[in-house]
């Protein structure tokens, strides 16, 4: 009889608490959004599932010797998982469109203002007493505006691991929501004429340029922002493997089995940070709110920068591609293309938008380096 009572006390029904139930439902909602609505499923399926596992009571999964906690310790605390993903992303990235029109790099710079505006917003909310974010937390929240998953996880893992779960969920969710978030901002800030601007066709880029560019980028990072070198170094390494043509079996593995394995482990690790006691706090709402501000401001700044460049330089730029500067590769570039087609059904902006799109990845990695360096103390 004693044993039966003991058995009953080991069940989840006996042990579970409301917050855990709520988190399990949130995990199921993430799975629903990922599977049914196509929200960044490669990440949100493991994160959502990991979130459910992390809230099962009475067993070590996301804590102690539990497997998700072990993954977190070995891959996120060390930075290994996001950096390997970044290497894979580098191996998947074609810098061709950027090389054909290098000035679009500046669009990727402007869109990073979303990061810092959000950082300021988080500190303002702290100032008025609504939340109590530290400068590290504010910086980690800001990086959501980088619209780049591995960068956000890498920075949050270093600066504010206690809110990494909320940050990752916000980053991936808003990246998935880019088709809803960006178009209103883009339409608000542009005239119909501007949206109809036709850009001159991109020149073909030689293989030698493609091999040399990541090396030039790496050297510049080394000389100017060494703190961004882990992220951009792995990124450039992946890209050199891709373009050099002599290590295709490595590049291929970096793009497929390696990035897939790490994605599974990274997603589960992030899910382990969705434990009720850490996630179901007021700060999470603040983070989610600030995250959407970050995307909106980043989009706006990218568009405005394009308009400014149009005022200054000769060759016209369709300001819609400025919105792709937030990154969210390749979604934001597709959005720019789609909004452009609304105005002129023959004006395909996709390749033009890929330039600022990958520039946004570089830009937010630079911003991440600065934040780690100066907010890390």
């Amino acid at each position: 009889m004693n044993q039966v009572i003991e058995l009953w006390q080991t069940t989840g029904i006996y042990q579970i608490q409301w917050p855990q139930l709520v988190m399990i439902v949130i995990g199921l909602v993430l799975l629903y959004l990922a599977i049914k609505k196509g929200f960044e499923p490669l990440l949100l399926v493991p994160i959502g599932f990991g979130g459910i596992l992390a809230n099962i009571p009475g067993v070590d999964i996301a804590t102690g010797a539990g497997i998700l906690h072990q993954f977190y310790v070995m891959g996120i605390e060390t930075g290994i998982f996001p950096l390997l993903i970044f290497m894979g992303v580098g191996a998947l990235t074609d810098f061709g469109p950027l090389l054909a029109n290098p000035k679009t790099l500046l669009l990727g710079a402007a869109a990073q203002f979303g990061i810092f505006a959000t950082l300021l917003g988080a500190l303002l909310l702290t100032d008025i007493g609504l939340f109590d974010f530290s400068i590290q937390q504010a910086a980690a929240i800001g990086i959501i505006g980088g619209a780049d998953g591995p960068t956000a996880i890498y920075v949050a893992g270093i600066l504010a691991p206690e809110i990494l779960g909320a940050i990752a969920v916000a980053a991936y969710s808003y990246m998935a929501l880019v088709p809803l978030i960006q178009p209103p901002v883009m339409r608000l800030l542009t005239t119909k004429e501007e949206r109809g601007i036709v850009m001159s066709q991109l020149r073909e880029v030689s293989q030698l340029e493609k091999i040399t560019f990541p090396l030039v980028l790496l050297i510049l990072v080394a000389l100017v922002v060494p703190s961004a070198a882990p992220l951009l170094g792995m990124f450039c390494f992946g890209n050199v493997m891709r373009e050099c043509g002599v290590v295709n079996r490595l590049s291929d593995t970096a793009q497929t089995s390696l990035i897939n394995i790490v994605t599974i482990l990274l997603g589960l690790s992030v899910g382990s940070k969705l434990q009720a006691e850490e996630f179901l706090v007021a700060e999470t709402l603040g983070i989610l709110g600030l995250g959407i501000v970050a995307f909106t401001i980043g989009t706006g700044c990218g568009v405005l920068m394009a308009k400014l460049m149009n005022a200054v330089t000769r060759e016209p730029i369709n300001p819609l591609i400025g919105a792709a500067g937030v990154s969210a590769v390749p979604m934001a570039a597709r959005v720019a293309n789609r909004v452009g087609l609304e105005t002129n059904p023959n004006n395909f902006l996709l390749m033009h938008a890929m330039g600022p799109n990958v520039a946004g990845v570089v830009g937010s990695a630079i911003a991440a380096g600065i934040l780690i360096q100066f907010a890390g103390g």
Binding site: L105, L106, Q112, V205, S206, Q207, V216, V225, I366, I370
Partner: protein
């Protein structure tokens, strides 16, 4: 708290300054690099007959299909237990 906001503003200035400076410099270096490669190096010009490359890939495909098939066969074994 004032202090925190001030820190944030400093960080913003530093950050956006660095990001812009970096990407501006990168723009110039990229343009320079491309100019050198396209104008000074013979190997820098894009292939004039990209079709040739495609044809090459086609030939590779045939070889690879066979290889992929053998490989795939090897995989279609018992499940791991």
């Amino acid at each position: 708290m004032e202090n925190l906001l001030y820190q944030g503003l400093q960080l913003t200035l530093l950050g956006m300054g660095t990001v812009f400076t970096f990407l501006l410099v990168l723009t110039f270096f990229t343009k320079g690099m491309s100019w050198i490669i396209v104008n000074l190096l013979p190997s820098g010009q894009p292939a004039s007959v990209p079709l040739g490359a495609t044809g090459d890939v086609d030939r590779q495909r045939l070889t690879a299909i066979i290889a992929a098939a053998v490989k795939q066969h090897k995989k279609s074994r018992l499940p791991h237990r």
